[in-house]
Symmetry: C2
Subunit: 321 residues, 2 copies
């Protein structure tokens, strides 16, 4: 399909260390990779479209970062170790001013996570990228959405809400003078996928998901798959001081934390007896974790703040709404 | 990333038989698949953009066919057995009139090749699709581009040139009354990936590639990777009677055969001693094969017709040109 060989040779080939399990990368009809016995391949695909997921004027390095993180985050949510990525890049013309910083950032981050570009396609059209990432994981231990049990505790990594505030800044120039506006915009693009946390949770967490659509939307997938309910204490939600300063209200920041998409933090559940092990397993992962609630019987969806019920109108983030 | 759950549930989930090696398909952060010991995973990604690779007004079933075939053809060119596919679909709005026939055709063809949809993404933007297909192949036997040796014979499957003529018809309404115009248009969209041929060539062919950019462009990849040259007899090129009728000249049809992209036939090389084995191995694959030339020392690129040199201006198909 692709005929843009000079483009590929110049920007994409030979930019990374070769993983030993990659038998063949760019330069043939397919890439060829080897999978260790007893491990399975975890695969995820995400598309980022200019105008929908990032502004065409956004820093290409930030776009590369967001694209890779949104994909690697899906591997993290399964506890998988990142391995390979394919990149399909569509652009109106071979714009080298855009490609050079995009590729620099892409390969720097890919190398950091030990993930090798094994192929892809470059085509002509409006700007968008589709990444397919693959990782390796023990299929018995892999974190899934369907293992939450009544009584399990609900946790999130990092803090929530900054990404939505950053998006506000991106979409409304009037907000640029609000406190921490630039910092929040940066956090929207430059999230950290929780790869080490996901791996540390193998054997400890009963379910996990990454927060890409918003905590409420995403936790509902765990509830649906696990056939359980939940009780969440919004006063426990981890929120940055910068977000509270930006929004001017803790209550508004809590609402942001519940609905903010593209956070790429993990939400996971774990049984009571693993609480101690969790603390020690996660102490070296560089991410804080916060217990925000507990799994309840199916049908329960309880939001409260220090035992007081909250009645906010919250809706998730849907690209077609 | 994706928030269009109703769309995915309605059109994509539960539409196929479950492969035994798919541990987890749609419905979690990643798909999980199992790879047999001793086999490697072959991976290829192709993007089709409306306006570049198909007309937005094209039959959605034909678009589905072309998208899958262009990807499966890359597996065929390695001799890999198709296994799994991810589909990233970007469209301006969730258009059910388009999606229903697209999905029907997509799943029908995927089932035919035993390839299961394991995930993907649906996003808002101008119409395009990116597929990542994966197949399984013995890494020792996998057909590559770099194994052609001086003296090997050069073969192609099927016939060449129809796809380019079909594209002419698509792009120029004035050609609709020419002989076989509609048939050639259909052939452009509805090519056959040579999966069985690819598998039959394992251990027999010294190199292989699928014809996606045009015979001349594609065979040059074999020459470059194998550090050899080639001599091709254009009078041997397999050409359909319909193409000759449509173009009105055998010479023009031969030029089409040399440059027509998106054919998805295989071009491969094999040593003299495998000639007999090739004939018997390929007799049950439902595709004719034709010997069109011979591998020569590096630096040779000789086009002739019954020993007479030809001097046509031929250039490949480059999406950015």
């Amino acid at each position: 399909m692709s005929g843009e060989f000079n483009l590929i040779e110049k920007y994409f080939v030979g930019r990374q260390n070769q993983r030993k399990d990659v038998l063949l990368a760019a330069g043939d009809d397919c890439a060829l990779v080897q999978v260790p016995t007893n491990l399975s391949v975890a695969i995820s695909t995400d598309t980022l479209v200019a105008g929908t997921h990032f502004l065409a004027s956004a820093d290409p390095a930030w776009v590369a970062h967001k694209a890779l993180v949104s994909n690697i985050s899906d591997l993290a949510a399964m506890g998988a170790t990142p391995a390979w990525v394919s990149l399909a890049l569509t652009m109106p013309e071979p714009n080298e001013v855009w490609l050079a910083p995009f590729c620099d950032a892409f390969f720097k981050l890919a190398d950091y996570y030990g993930i090798q570009l094994i192929g892809g396609d470059t085509t002509k059209g409006s700007l968008s990228l589709t990444l397919t990432v693959q990782g390796l994981v023990d299929p018995i231990k892999a974190l899934r959405r369907n293992g939450a049990q009544v009584g399990d505790w609900v946790y999130v990594t990092g803090s929530l809400g900054d990404s939505k505030a950053g998006l506000d800044v991106i979409l409304d120039a009037n907000l640029a003078n609000k406190p921490y506006a630039q910092e929040l915009e940066k956090r929207h693009y430059l999230a950290t996928p929780r790869v080490l946390v996901g791996q540390a949770l193998l054997g400890l967490a009963s379910s996990a998901i990454d927060i890409s659509d918003g905590l409420i939307s995403d936790i509902k997938h765990i509830l649906q798959r696990s056939q359980v309910g939940v009780s969440l204490d919004v006063s426990k939600l981890p929120i940055s001081n910068e977000l509270i300063q930006f929004l001017g209200s803790r209550s508004k920041a809590q609402q942001y934390a519940l609905t903010s998409g593209e956070e790429y933090e993990l939400c996971f559940t774990a049984p009571e007896q693993n609480k101690g092990s969790l603390d020690s397993a996660l102490s070296h992962c560089g991410a804080s974790i916060t217990c925000i609630g507990q799994i309840r019987p199916q049908g329960t969806f309880d939001l409260h703040s220090n035992s007081q019920p909250v009645n906010w109108d919250l809706s998730g983030y849907d690209h077609f709404k």
